[in-house]
Amino acid sequence: MQKIGVFVCWCGSNIAATVDVKKVAEVLKAEPGVVISENYQYMCSENGQALIRNAIKEHGLTGVVVCSCSPRMHEATFRKTCESAGLNPYMVEIANIREQCSWIHKDIEEATEKAIILGRSAIAKLKLNAPLTSGESAVVKRALVIGGGIAGIQSALDIAEAGFEVDIVEQSPTIGGNMAKLDKTFPTLDCAACILTPKMVDCAQNEKIDIMTFSEIESVKGFVGNFKVQIRRKARFVDEKKCTGCGECMQKCPSKKGLNDFNMGLNTRPAIYIPFAQAIPNVAIIDPEQCLKIKNGKCGLCAMKCNVNAIDYTQKDEIIEREYGAIVVATGYKPISLENFNEYGYSSYKDVVTSLELERLMNAAGPSDGHLVRPSDHKEPKVITFIQCVGSRDTSGCGKPYCSKICCMYTAKHAMLIREKYPDTEVHVFYIDVRTPGKNYDEFFRRAVEQYGVDYIKGMVGKVYEENGKLMVQGSDLINNEQVVIPSDLVVLAAAIEPNPSVRNIATMVTASIDTNNFLTEAHAKLRPVESPTAGIFLSGVCQGPKDIPETVSQASACAAKVIGLLAKDKLKCNACVSHSDEMLCTGCSVCANVCPYGAITYVDKEFRLGGGKTEVRRVATVNDAVCQGCGACTVACPSGAMDLKGFSNKQIMAEVDAICKR
C-alpha cells in the first residue's frame, strides 16, 4: 500500500494569494493513498524541507507530492530532500501550481480548483512511479583522435598535456594534414611549416601520444566511456620501428614515376618514399602499385640498400583493437573536385591551378623549390588571375551551397605574397564578396589592395579559354558594368572545401549525425559546438564546418577540454529516466534504433522459454543506459509497445491524462 505525502507550498503570497492552499491540502488529503497533507509558507526553505523529511520518517512515506513552483525550479531540491530522508529521489512529483496556476489566474475559486486537479494529476503519476537509480559506468582513460591534421594534433596535445593517453589515427602516411602543405599563413604570414612541425614533433615525442599513420578505423562499438575500436594498420612494407628515415632507399629506387600526392601531383616521387622532409613519423613507405618488387618480383634494390633491414615486401594489413573513453573526430577537409566546372578549364589547361596547388608552387619545399613558375613551361607568370568562390555558395548542384570561409583570406594572402616577391607581376582577383571577419583580417585584405596594388574585380568569370598562348579570362566587372577579358599566364581557382569523404563512414560507425553537406552535426549549434549529439564523440576542426587555422586550433582545444572533463571522471552517472525494452513484447524490428539520436539501442538474439520445455530465440532490443538521454522517440516509434521510458512511462502519462480529465 502506498503512503503518499502531499506538501502544498504557499510561496509566501505568490501561490497563497490566488490559491486557497489550505483547501488544496485538505481536498488532496482525501485522495486514496494520501496519508498526510500539509501546507507551509516556503516549502523550499530549510524548515519546509525539514517538514517533508520528518513526515517521510514519521509516516513511512513511499512517495511525495509537492505542490509548488515549476519543477524546473525546485524538483532537484525536493529530490535531494527526500533522498536525505531515505526516500528514492524519483519518488517525488511536483505539481506546478505557481507558474502554471497562481501566477496566471486571478479568480481564487478557479485557481484553487485547477491546483487541486494538478495535485491529483501528480498523485496519479506518483502512484505509478518506481524508484530509479542512475546507472554508473567506468571510463576508459584513453582518447582516440581520428585525423592527424592541425585539429587532431592540437586536440591530442592538449589531452596528453592533461595526463591522458591519446592515440592519433591518420589515414595518410604522415600527420600534418592540409596545413603541412601550406606555404604561409594569414594574417601574420608566418611560415606554416615553422609553426606546425614543432607541434608534430611534440606529438611524436610525447609519451602519452601514440601515432598510427596510414591507418583507418575499421569498426567502433560501445558507448561513452567504453568504446571498442578496431584500427586497420595498412601495410607500408617498411618496418616503422626499424626505419631511420635516412632516405637512402629513395635515391636507389628505379621506379620514380609516381605522382607526388604531397605536392598535389605537381611532380613525381619514387615507389619508396617519405612524404616530405619533416614527415612524422619520418619513415619510408612503399607504394605497392608502383613498386617493381611487389608488382612483378623483380628489383629489391631498396631492401639491399637499407642498412637496418626495415623493408618487408610481404607486410600485411594488421587490425588492432583498443579501448577508449572518448573519440575526437578531426577528419578535416579536401578541396572539391572541379570536374563540374568546365568553364574555368581546370582539366584542359595545365596553367589553371587550385589554390592548394599554388601553395605548393610557392612553397620552398615544393616542386619548384619556392620559385613561382607555371606548371606548363616552368616560366614565371607575368599576369596571374584569381577566381574566388569556385564551387562555394553554389546551389545549382555543381558545387556546395555553403561559404567555404577561408578562400577570401588565402587569396588575399597569395596575391599579396606574389606582389611582394615578384613586384612586376600583375594580379587580378575576381570576387563576388570579400568576407573578412576576424581579428586583423580586413586590415590584411585592405593591405593587399592598398599597399600591394592587387586588382580586385567585383564580378565572376564566365569562361577561360586559350588564345595565342595566353589564358583568356572573360568575366564581368560589375562596378564598371563591362565585360572584361584578361589575358593571363596563370589562373588560380579558390576551390570550395568539403569534408573529408571518409567522414561519412566514420560518422556511421560512431553514430554521430551528419548534415546534408557531410559536416558533422554538433549537439547544440550554439551551446555545445564541439560535441556530437552522441555522448563521448567530440568534433574538432573542419569536419564540423569550414574554418581557418586559428578557429580550428581554438575548437580543437575546446574539444580537448571537453574530452579531459570526461576522462577525468572515474565513473559516469547515467540519466535515470532512460528507455527500456520489454523483452517479452519486443519483436526486434529495429524501428527504435532508426529514430534514436544517440545510437543507444542495439539488438541481441536471446533465448526465451515458451513453456512445455520449449525455447525460442528472438532478436530483442536492449537500451544502453549510459547512452540513452531519455527523449522517448523510440517509445512512440516502437510498433509493439515494448519500449517505455522510465519516469515518463505510458501508464504514468495516461494516469496524468485521466486525472486531469476527471471532473
Partner: protein, 128 residues
Amino acid sequence: MEKNEIVRLVKERSGTDARKCMKCGKCSGRCPAYHDMDIKPHQFVSYIEKGEIDKLMQSKSLYTCLSCFACVERCPRGVAPANVIEAVRQEVIRQQGGNKIMAETVPSMIDETIPQQLLVSMFRKLNK
C-alpha cells in the same frame, strides 16, 4: 495591364526567383552577346526584382540575346537570366498583338547571316 501585374507574369513565366541571385555577374561574364546589349543579363535579374519592367521592355537586349542559355548554365544559384529575357520578350510580343510572325513565313525570311541559334529560338517562340 498594370505594371505590377506584368512584373508578376514575367516572374512567373520565367520561373526564376530573382532573390536567389547573389550578384556575382557570372552570367554577364559568360554572355557572348554582352557587347551588343544595353541592359546586361545580370541587370535583367535585378531590374525585374526591382520592378523596372518598362526599361526592360524597351531594351535592345531583348533582340540581341541569342538564347544560348550560357548564363543559365553557368549560374551558381540556379537563377535563369535568359528565361527572364525570354519572358520579357514574350510580353512585348504579346502586347504587340497582331504583328506576330507566323512560323510558316519564317523560311522565306532566312538569309545566311542569321545565326542558327536565333532560328531555333524563333521557332520555339513563334510556334506557340
